[in-house]
Every structure is written in structure tokens, then in C-alpha cells.
């Protein structure tokens, strides 16, 4: 085991994928010489050369569209989108091409792209640098969507995403890039937990708390805090956002009867709704209270000095837990059905 930051763990995962399959190519803005604005690809161009780690022109549609062509040719492109908010110029190529080509070609053309997206807020950044666009992609048939939350997972999951014959949107919680964790660099992929499965981060009996990405750590902290208060929270790191591992969540909710979903993305049309609907469908008779969403507001990502009033934090998650438990909370006494 080696202690690595999450960013470095991804770097090592990329290195291993590059080394083990010469069809893997990395593409993106500033990923080569500079090693990426977060240094996630640091050293890889020097090691594998400019045809394997490719600095591209400044054009997201161009990057994804040429990656499609490379996939046609049998390559496995790993694309970096510099920040979450810069993925939209490439949206058409992702939604109309990457997601659909396997279907369109009746299985003849595979699109084993991995699209790496540093996502989420909490770093005091400028506009467009803190977004959580994952729901757009989870709603897009043909794509798989995953989010890592810790170095060990990140190291394995990036390799699984690259090895997948389906296109994978790979979300990296940028504000956790510098958090360290133990990583087994020699772990074999064959034995690894599939990236489609969720992980139980903390066991608990009273409430099931589902989240992903940067908020997993916050949820874990919330569980610790709640335990002091006598509330036992089961924390699930979703990992796969599409498809969702409903089996794991449902198993938990059948025990706890209560569900809280937390994400940084806005509530309206966010994944919280999907998960609550999916679980209500599967566990209706087990639910003891209406599931609760704790999310970012439905606003454009706010300026840095306001982001703490946007992002779910430990206290807001615990307030959501209180709501689902019917304990005193911010909405106590409010007729929530009112409008």
C-alpha cells in the first residue's frame, strides 16, 4: 500500500493503462507539457510521448469528436475536460455521437472513450469552474457515468473506465484531489469491485444516506457527528451514477426505512429525484418517511464568497437527516406540501 493523493492515484491509474495497452491515448488541453491544470497527467507525456499524451487545440467538440474518430480506428481515447463547466461545447458530440454510435452501428463500432471531468465546487474558483453536470449524462442512454471519491477507488475505477468498451463519463471530485489515502498499486483489476457497484462507507440502522464524489467525505463526517447524537447513519458512496446500483441502496433502505440523498448539483431534475423515485418504486412498503434531498440550490453556481451557502455541508446534511427522522429541523412546522 502507498499513500497517494486522489490526483496522484488517477495519475498512476492512467500510467498503468497507458503502459498496458498501447491503444490508450490521452487527449486534452494542457495535459501534456503542463501535466494538466491539476497536474493529474503530470509526467505522462514525457514517459509515453506526444502521440500517446496529446495536447490538443482549444476546442472541446474537437477533442471529443476526434476521439470518436480515434475510437473508430480502434484507439481507446481518454479525454480530459479541463473543468466541469467546459464540457458543454462538447455536449453534442457526447450525446449525439459518443452515446449513440454503438447503437447506430448495431454493435459494430465501439466507443470505449473515457471522459475525465474534474467536477464540483468548494475551491473558491471563478464562474464555470465548480459545476456538477452529471445528471445530464446520467439521463443520456448509451453513456455510463461514474464518480470516484477516494484515492483507492480512483486508481482502480479510472482503469476500469478505460478498459470498458462503453463510453464512461468519469467525474473527479476536484476539491479532494489533494486528499491522501492508501492505494494498492499492485492490485489486479480482475479482482477489483466492478465500478457499477456502490460502496458502503459506514454501516448504520436509522437512515440511509446516499451521495457521491466530494460529498462522500462530508457524509462520513455527518455519520460520525450523528452517532454522537445517537443517530446511526448508513453512508453509501454511489460510485456509479448511471446505471445506479439500486440493489445496494434498496437493501439498506429496507433496513433503515429512511433515505436521504445529497449532491452538489441542483435539486430540480437532479439525480436525487431519480434515486428517490427508483427507491420508492422498489421499497415503498418499507419507507417510514418521505425521502429527503439535500442539494445545491437551483441557481447558477454562485461567486466564491457565497459557495458555502450553496453547497450541502455537514450541517445541511444533518438537517436533512433530522427531517427524514421527524426530529426538529429547519422545516419543522412548515407544511411542505403547501406549494
Amino acid at each position: 500500500m502507498t499513500a497517494l493523493t486522489l490526483g496522484k492515484a488517477i495519475n498512476e491509474g492512467l500510467r498503468r493503462s497507458l503502459a498496458s495497452d498501447d491503444r490508450v491515448v490521452l487527449m486534452g488541453e494542457d495535459i501534456g507539457t503542463l501535466g494538466g491544470v491539476f497536474r493529474v497527467t503530470d509526467g505522462l507525456k514525457a514517459e509515453f510521448g506526444p502521440n500517446r499524451v496529446v495536447d490538443t487545440p482549444l476546442s472541446e467538440a474537437g477533442i471529443i469528436g476526434t476521439a470518436v474518430g480515434l475510437a473508430y480506428r480502434g484507439f481507446r481515447p481518454v479525454v480530459e475536460i479541463q473543468f466541469d463547466g467546459f464540457i458543454y461545447p462538447g455536449f453534442d458530440q457526447l450525446v449525439a455521437q459518443v452515446a449513440k454510435l454503438h447503437y447506430r452501428s448495431r454493435g459494430n463500432v465501439r466507443m470505449p472513450l473515457t471522459v475525465r471531468v474534474p467536477f464540483g465546487g468548494g475551491i473558491g474558483a471563478a464562474e464555470h469552474h465548480s459545476e456538477s453536470p452529471e445528471a445530464y449524462f446520467a439521463h443520456t442512454a448509451g453513456l455510463r457515468v461514474v464518480a470516484c471519491s477516494n484515492p483507492a477507488d480512483a486508481y482502480v475505477m479510472i482503469q476500469q473506465a478505460i478498459a470498458s468498451d462503453d463510453p464512461v463519463l468519469f467525474f473527479e471530485p476536484k476539491r479532494r484531489y489533494h486528499v491522501k489515502g492508501e492505494v494498492d498499486l499492485t492490485a489486479s483489476l480482475a479482482d477489483a469491485k466492478p465500478m457499477g457497484l456502490a460502496t458502503f462507507i459506514a454501516k448504520g440502522d436509522d437512515v440511509t444516506l446516499v451521495t457521491y464524489g466530494a460529498l462522500v467525505q462530508t457524509a462520513r463526517d455527518a455519520a460520525v457527528a450523528a452517532a454522537e447524537d445517537g443517530v446511526s447513519i448508513e453512508v453509501i458512496d454511489l460510485r456509479s451514477l448511471a446505471p445506479i446500483d439500486y440493489e445496494s441502496i434498496a437493501a439498506s433502505v429496507r433496513r433503515t426505512g429512511r433515505l436521504v440523498v445529497a449532491h452538489e448539483a441542483g435539486e430540480q431534475g437532479g439525480l436525487g429525484g431519480e434515486i428517490i423515485a427508483g427507491i420508492t418504486e422498489r421499497c415503498f412498503d418499507y419507507l417510514e418517511a418521505a425521502p429527503v434531498r439535500v442539494t445545491g440550490h437551483d441557481i447558477p453556481y454562485p461567486p466564491a464568497k457565497l459557495e458555502r451557502h450553496h453547497l450541502p455541508d455537514l450541517d445541511r446534511i444533518l438537517d436533512g437527516v433530522d427531517r427524514v427522522l421527524g426530529r426538529p429541523n429547519s422545516l419543522s412546522g412548515v407544511e411542505v406540501g403547501a406549494r
Binding site: 491515448v25 502521440n51 490538443t56 487545440p57 476546442s59 467538440a61 474537437g62 471529443i64 469528436g65 476526434t66 476521439a67 470518436v68 474518430g69 480515434l70 475510437a71 473508430y72 480506428r73 480502434g74 484507439f75 461545447p89 453534442d92 458530440q93 449525439a96 455521437q97 454503438h102 447503437y103 447506430r104 452501428s105 448495431r106 454493435g107 459494430n108 463500432v109 465501439r110 470505449p112 442512454a141 448509451g142 455510463r144 470498458s164 468498451d165 462503453d166 457499477g196 448511471a242 446505471p243 445506479i244 446500483d245 440493489e247
Partner: protein, 382 residues
Amino acid sequence: MTPSDRDATGLLTRPDHFVQLVSPTGERRADPEYDPWVADVDTDALARLFRDMAIVRRLDAEATALQRQGELGLWPPLAGQEAAQIGSARALRDDDFVFSSYREHAVAWCRGVGPAELLTVWRGSAASGWNPFEHAMAVPQIIIGAQALHATGYAMGQKWEGSDAASIAYFGDGATSEGDVNEAFVFAASFDAPVVFFIQNNQWAISEPVGLQSKQHLARRADGFGMPGIRVDGNDVLAVLAATRIALDRARRGEGPTLIEAVTYRMGPHTTADDPKRYRTDDELADWRTRDPLARVLALLAATGADADALEREVAEEARAAAAELRAAVTTIPDPEPMSVFDHVYAEPNTHLARQRDHYARYLAMYDETDAAASGAEGGAR
């Protein structure tokens, strides 16, 4: 086929040149720069090009008829663009790769796409009609311009592999306004990708004249992106062949992309759903008919002493046969199985889709049971 003493980049020196080797009335026009690239095209070869064009014109008409008769959901006719498509596609090697839009039926013909393969998607029977890797041609692209980037990426891969094969992207005049096409130019130039950008400027993007997209010849777009641009008479199959060969030769020699603007005309509607009378005049059409790509080849053949009438008759017969084959093929296209709606969404197992599929199978089965139970009852399940 490659005049070894020639430097293809010489074409950069005449950016406003309009390449025409055969005039609308069938005269052979000498062009010292382009002639050597078609020096091998003798009477027989020219006849073969004519044959291609005549057959695809006939197939196109047949497909239009099939649409009118309800056998196809839609058809985008190529009539008028035979020379642009045949001239360029006949310049390709088998190991070059084609990325086209929806109108390149003649290119598909050259790539060996069969009649049922060609019609499947327009009949609405399947998401596509052929395996791209069998014909080295991607299935039709409907998102305007998207394929320009695919061709560029594919070519980058060809280059990185050290292959001397190239790729070619077909798109229309309207497509040049899309960001994707311009970004493809940027990438192709930056990576010296062995790709040919082949614009069929057929004067119209549905109802919009090319002048709305650009006030400059589209071939001139190339220079600013750092590649040569060739403006060629797209109704002159010989000129198109020469231009495409030059561009492919540059690509193979590692000199990067070339842009070709083939000036041509869409004689028919945009698709069978379109009514061009709403936006263009009969005069315009009549004018372009005088520049018909097939007629001029026949005239040239006649002028060079070939028996053009005999050829025409012979080819007409072949075309009729091909059309009959097309018509026969359309009914052989199998209707898809209901549950195939779920096939190929993913290459790997997907838990969510498996569940959805399972539920839908039960739903369909319920109807089968209901039908069986209430056998003879009309109006389906309810």
C-alpha cells in the same frame, strides 16, 4: 497514378483556380497541373466512370420512387451530384476510410454497399444498414458536420500508426457554418492529419442558398486554417477525380489535410419531404441542367471516337437491372423484432437496461397471453 515529379503543394499557388477538365459541352480542357493526375484515364476508364454515374442516378430515382410508394420513410436524392461523388470515391483506396453525410449513396455504391444495406436505414428498419468496417465507410451522419471531426480523428490514428491510408469527410455547403467542421480544420492542420475534406457545394442547404452561409468561395476557407483548398467543377467527374487524387497523395505523403470544394447542384428536393419550388426557380434548375455531369462525359466520349450511343444503351440496361435489384432488395429487409429495440445500447452488460428490457418483455408477453386467452377478440389487449 502519382506523377512522381510533381509537388502537390503547387496547388497552393493558384488558390482561385476553378478546376475543370471537361467543359459542360464535353470538350477536354487542358490543365497542366491537373492533367497528369488523370493521365491514366483512357476511354475505357472514362466509360466506367460514366457507368457508375448512370447507375447511381438510376438507383437514386428508384429509391425516390420507392419512397413515394411507401416502401421507404424518407430519401435524400443525390441527383446532380453524381460526378462529385463518383469522381472522389473512385480516387480512394480500399483501406481509406469514408465519413459521409446522408446523401452519399454514390460513394456507398463505390464502397460496395449493397442495395438492402443502402435502404435499410431509410426504410426505418434498423439504426443502420451496414457494418462500417466491411466497407471502410461509416454509416450516414445526420448531425450536420459532426463527421468532419470523426474523419479527422480517424486520420490522426492512421498517421500515428504509420499507415499511408487516408480518410475523407463528405459534407455540404451548409455544413461549413457548423463549429464542428471548422474545428475539424483546426485539428487536421495542427496534427497534419491525412484527411480530405470534401465539400459538395450543391448551392443549397434545404431552402438556404450558399450565399447565406458564405460570401467567399468555400475553398478559400482552407488557407486561413493552413491547408490548401481546391475549387473544382463538381459536375466534371475527371476534374473531381484529379483533385481528390492530389489531395489523397498529399495525405499519404504526410503533408496533411486538403479541402476540396466541388461546385455542383442538387437537382431534386432536399429529401422526399421537401418541396424546392417554395424557394428556387425553374430557371435555375434549367440552367444547371445544361451542366449535367453525365451528358458531358458522353459528349467527350463521342468526341474521342467512342460509340457513346452503344455505351449509353448498355449502361441503361445495367442500370435498369440494378434498379430492379434495389426494388427487390427493399422487401427483403427484415422488420425488426420488438425486443431488438434494446440491442446494442451498450457493449457491456448494463443492470438498468437489463431490468427495463426484462420488464418490457413481460409487458409484451402479457399481451401474447391476453391474445391467446381472448383468441379471436379484436382490438388487441383491451
